[in-house]
């Protein structure tokens, strides 16, 4: 996938490979093609929250070559992934404020900050309580 502007803090990383492994479904690994050590862990937004609707700016739509008349449909027009933060000693969170949006026809991607979004950059994942031992 091509990211012409990179993503915030990683503006020089222009190409990522989306990797899915049957054993780790539904995770998606976003591996940088220019930095072997850079790999984000992401989830399709639908796995984080049901009914997620995109609210992209006209600038982001244009940058991805999408029609500016309405919002793209996840799954049909675009792939939409939430990057996960898995810090030690803290519950894992997903960035739903700025999902990775990829045009499925051109494979051009962008981290699209949502406008009027009810979601945060640190949205809790729907996890069951850890089993007591």
């Amino acid at each position: 996938m091509e990211f012409p502007d990179g993503i915030p803090a990683f503006e020089q990383e222009r190409q990522f490979l989306a990797i899915r492994q049957p054993a780790n479904e539904p995770l998606v690994f976003l591996q940088s093609l220019s930095d072997a050590d850079l790999c984000f862990v992401a989830l399709p937004v639908q796995s984080v929250t049901r009914g997620f609707k995109l609210s992209m700016t006209p600038e982001d739509l244009e940058a991805l070559g999408l029609e500016s008349g309405g919002q793209p449909v996840i799954g049909r027009d675009v792939l939409c992934l939430a990057i996960l933060s898995l810090e030690e000693n803290a519950p894992p969170t997903a960035n739903l404020l700025a999902p990775i949006v990829v045009n499925v026809r051109t494979l051009r991607g962008r981290q699209a900050i949502q406008t009027d979004s009810p979601y945060s950059h640190r949205e809790a994942l729907p996890l069951r309580e850890a089993a007591c031992s």
Binding site: L86, L97, I113, R122, L125, P126
Partner: protein, 82 residues
């Protein structure tokens, strides 16, 4: 914080070479035009949040922690009992 009242079409100057113009006032949002030298980065404040979050997300984490998280993901993991 300095607070100024402006109408649509009016501007604010910051220093000699930054101009902020109120272009349109809508119901829930306003459209702002910004003239600034190329050397001055202009971004939405959220970009800063996203930048910090991306840096945190890029940290190397253990595979075991990842598995533990996956096993607890509701409706996600194929091995999850329902």
């Amino acid at each position: 914080m300095l607070v100024m009242r402006r109408r649509a079409g009016e501007s604010i100057l910051i220093g000699d070479d930054i101009e902020i113009q109120i272009m349109h006032i809508g119901e829930s949002r306003i459209k702002i035009g910004i003239k600034a030298p190329k050397s001055v980065p202009v971004t939405m404040k959220e970009v800063q949040l996203v930048r910090e979050e991306n840096l945190a997300a890029a940290q190397v984490r253990s595979v075991a922690a990842l598995r533990g998280m996956l096993d607890r993901l509701i409706g996600g993991s194929p091995s999850a009992a329902s």
